[in-house]
Amino acid sequence: MIETIKKTAQSAVTALKNAGADKAAANVSYTITHEFNVDGGEFSLFRTLFDKSLSMTAIQGGRKGTVAQNRYDEKTIADSAKACLEAAASAQPDENWDFAPESGNQDFVLGEPKPDTDRLFDRCRELMAAVGERFPKIIMEQMIVSHKEIYSAKANSYGVLFSTHEGYYEVSLMFSGHEGEKASSFFGSGVVTDSLDKPFLALGSIEKDLADVEKQIETTGVSGKFEGTMVVMPGCLGSLFYSLLSDFAGEGGLLSGTSPWKEKLGEQVADERITLSLAPLDERIVCGNRYTGEGFRSENFDIIRDGRLNAFYLGLYGANKLKLPRGKNDSFNLVVAPGDRSIEQIIASVDRGILVGRFSGGQPASNGDFSGVAKNSFLIENGKIGPALSETMISGNMADMLCRLRAVSSEQVADGMSVLPYMAFDGITISGK
């Protein structure tokens, strides 16, 4: 199968060149999904999906166009090549569009390509039974557990030809705690794994998340407004940093000129204890990308190293346009270096603050200002975790926050997609009704 996928990618590149492209690239994939669903605590659906994808990009006279289909028979490839060149012809020329040069092609086999469907179903039943027994107040609103087997290839007109045959299991849970008519907020937890050797409850932070949500049925509000410490749980940190990196270090914020970090490469932008990497090759990341969408071989890299802005998260177009180095991969497998204090020690150091499990907020402004509701969160007072909170808002500025670090925990949670610690930041505005 993988040879067919590789040949298809090369055929698509040839078709684009024959249609008149100066430079051409194609991605081809075939994905088989086996998926079990639980809704409202009961098994509801078993589905198998057979999906194809073909993406073709042409650059002609500096003009770029992309066409994507979910078929790749000969006629579709020929028609798509024509449509792709037509799309490119409508664009204005921009010399910064380009693809990766060939630098050593390779075929990768990652994870567990073939599913063990019976064992997967047994692990699902085991998890549902464990939740019923150990967390009786939890209602599993939805559980989606799947295995994906993916054959994919990337080719371009410089001679790049990479392929991957990979397989992994995904567990995605949405649940809430209930007692009578009282209910907690819903909470999502999940992992990506390439092994069924351990019960799902033992993976990522699933067990702790279930326990926390049972404690969030009874809540209290914060009265008034105060400035305090925000301790962010690992599961919440990823989404906060995603916004931060997109706006401050990503192509959008840099090309638009709105990034506050646009002139700060090599400068201190965060507390020196913060090192923040994108690391698809980290051994704790499951099936991380071995090559980028543009055809470069992936390498891990630090965006922030010891508090200094070390690199931007730029693709080739942005790098050429801004005359800056490109990012060494295009994953978002975030790894934050651990600190030297336990989460217990960090909590004990906080006079007044909040332990945040989920942030429900508007898209942070491009200047870094954010405000939103602290969900699945607990009050911290006098060094101890207090009651769960409701209707509590937090606000601050992302850039300022990074410079007001209180601590990073020594514990990290690896969920197959990221490796994140707890982080505590001072100077956050916390307000109730």
Partner: protein
């Protein structure tokens, strides 16, 4: 139009089970100009066929990107096998869905698939206008986008359908330096709605007035202030009340989320809002006009009708699939919809709106001594508890009944069924929006609308 390879496979449907066959094509066209550079120029198509079989209380599903007589049979066979596997291990001892009348719904038409050149040239004209007229902007982004869903549906019981929902929009985002030099941004959906791009966007000049208004508002915002944090009386503009209808109320009354423990479970037939609040999920016609995104039949073969959710402040219904409608002894109203051919139908909203009242907007503003008039939002999220949050991107102070300074970005929050009880004025005009995608395992185009509401919410301040 999708060729019908489905109807002649009905003889393969198993008796004693519910079966759906669906062939579907999704098209997306997108062009993006960032500061005049074309950074997005993409056309995508996803096409294929799926089958779903309901047996012994559980579903089996299968899909493939190939659409031939053989693959239709293949997905039907695979879906039946998957249903049998799950029925054997986790069946619920149930028979087929309650039967409904069989019928046909044919609303598909030949789509004019607009050339990519048309999208690009149109936004280039807009970009040229913005660049010339407003050189003080830090950045400008203009997006042309169009998508469509064509579905051919064949069911063992219910309404067979062939439908198409095309929509197209232009987004304009502007950024300028605020008083402290930091960027301040604002975006607006300019025109568009149901229909192809060429139907909505003929002359770029027709968009200039809206662009000028956006710039004026951005200038006001750049000199704006943060609101004072706390519980405040506000006028929610129609865009925000539509978001409220969808996010804070709509999701909690989707029957699958009710079964998952949402706040609406214990609230059925109880007061959840003031007498001024009536909320409906419209199918295809609202207040005598077509809805923004009309749905005539859902993907389970249920002919679509309106779902009355809150009547005069009392929660009276949920949105259902055929399965949940039986559980709650309600009539299904056609809310089970799938986004791609490879997606199974889920309970989704269609065109969810708070109904207009009798107050005049100017009287509502004049009635507020110290509060805010909130006009635009960039996103909203809600909990199954009804606790909601919106990002507010534009609004004004109200001081002694008069509009004051513009607001910088902020957030509002509250608990829907508490907040709705504070609604004491409802305007007589409503605003619809339909450019967004709702997210719930799968994306889905939805319409939402509402009048201006006077109520109390918690505002974030800074």
């Amino acid at each position: 139009m999708i060729e019908d390879l489905l109807t002649n496979k009905k003889y393969l449907f198993a008796s004693g089970a519910n079966t759906e066959l669906r062939a579907q094509r999704n098209l997306n066209r997108r062009a993006v100009l960032l500061n005049g550079a074309l950074v997005g120029n993409v056309r995508t198509e996803q096409f294929g066929v799926s089958a779903r079989v309901y047996e012994n209380g559980v579903y089996g599903f299968s899909s493939t990107a190939e659409y031939t007589d053989e693959t239709v049979k293949d997905v039907l066979r695979a879906a039946s096998e998957n249903a049998a596997f799950l029925a054997q291990h986790a069946g619920r001892g149930k028979g087929p869905h309650k039967p409904m009348a069989n019928g046909q719904s044919r609303t598909a038409f030949d789509l004019n698939d607009v050339e990519q050149r048309a999208y690009i040239e149109f936004i280039q004209a807009l970009d040229g206008y913005v660049a010339r007229k407003y050189p003080d902007l830090m950045s400008r982004t203009i997006v042309a986008t169009a998508d469509s869903m064509e579905k051919l549906l064949c069911v063992s019981n219910g309404t067979d359908g062939h439908s198409i929902i095309p929509r197209s929009y232009i987004y304009v985002m502007m950024t300028m330096a605020g008083a402290d030099g930091k960027p301040v941004e604002l975006f607006k959906v300019i025109g568009g709605g149901f229909g192809t791009f060429d139907r909505h966007f003929v002359r770029p000049e027709a968009c200039f007035e809206e662009i000028d208004r956006l710039y004026d508002r951005l200038r006001q915002k750049a000199e704006g202030v943060y609101p004072e944090a706390g519980s405040k009386t506000v006028i929610l503009g129609g865009t925000l009340s539509g978001m409220l209808a969808h996010e804070a109320v709509g999701h909690t009354v989707e029957a699958d989320l009710v079964l998952g423990g949402s706040v609406a479970g214990p609230c059925l037939n109880k007061r959840v809002g003031s007498e001024l609040v009536t909320l409906v999920d419209f199918a295809h016609t609202a207040l005598g006009k077509p809805t923004p995104l009309p749905v005539y039949v859902d993907d389970e073969g249920t002919a679509a009708t309106d779902a009355l959710l809150i009547r005069d402040g009392i929660l009276v219904g949920y949105m259902n699939s055929r399965e949940t409608a039986e559980r709650f002894s309600m009539a299904p109203t056609g809310n089970a919809r799938a986004y791609l051919f490879s997606d199974e139908p889920l309970i989704r909203m269609r065109n969810t709106a708070v109904l207009p009242g009798t107050s005049k907007l100017e009287d509502m503003i004049a009635s507020v001594d110290d509060g805010y008039y909130l006009l635009d939002t960039n996103n909203g999220q809600a909990d199954t508890t009804g606790e909601f949050m919106y990002g507010v991107t534009f609004g004004y102070e109200i001081k002694k009944g008069k509009l004051g300074r513009a607001l910088l970005d902020t957030t509002i929050s509250g608990v829907a069924f508490d907040m709705l009880k504070t609604v004491d004025m409802v305007s007589d005009e409503m605003i619809w929006a339909s450019s967004g995608m709702c997210g719930k395992k799968q994306p889905m185009p939805v319409g939402m609308g509402g009048p201006a509401l006077r109520c109390r919410v918690t505002i974030g301040g800074r």
